[in-house]
Symmetry: C2
Subunit: 86 residues, 2 copies
């Protein structure tokens, strides 16, 4: 199936290009890249002296924090479902 083939998608973040290789659709990769770019810009607005590495690390920290919080919420929902099924 050609549709399941590995895709190469190039995105541009802060003046550099990144080629992402994987099964994800190009539109999905571009959406993710747009979200990362937005978050980097948001942090940059608050602190203009940060360089791209610092902006990207802070964006990763920020997103990882959001991920952990969502994971906690997910586990709470999961427990709720398990309790209802008992």
């Amino acid at each position: 199936m050609t549709q399941d083939k590995v895709k190469r998608t190039t995105v541009h973040i802060k003046g550099r290009s990144y080629t992402i290789v994987g099964n994800e659709k190009s539109e999905h990769i571009r959406l993710i890249a747009g979200l990362v770019d937005d978050k980097m810009k948001e942090i940059h607005e608050k602190n203009k002296s940060l360089d791209t590495t610092q902006l990207a690390v802070l964006t990763a920290l920020n997103t990882m924090n959001d991920y952990m919080k969502l994971q906690e919420d997910y586990e709470i929902l999961q427990k709720l479902i398990d309790e209802k099924e008992d």
Copy 2:
């Protein structure tokens, strides 16, 4: 309440220090920083030629992708609960 005061936590990622200001506990910030650092190392292992900026951006993209997937799963669970309540 002094416990609710804004905290400053310094973490070290790829030879640079980042001071995170917020209400989160220092242990939590260090856990998040450790996860980001691990992810950067993992990507670096796969491609040794990437510089720190590229590693940080790819880590941010990777984490954002995980976040979006978890959000989809969360919404599926949420719908399941809503359907059961109807």
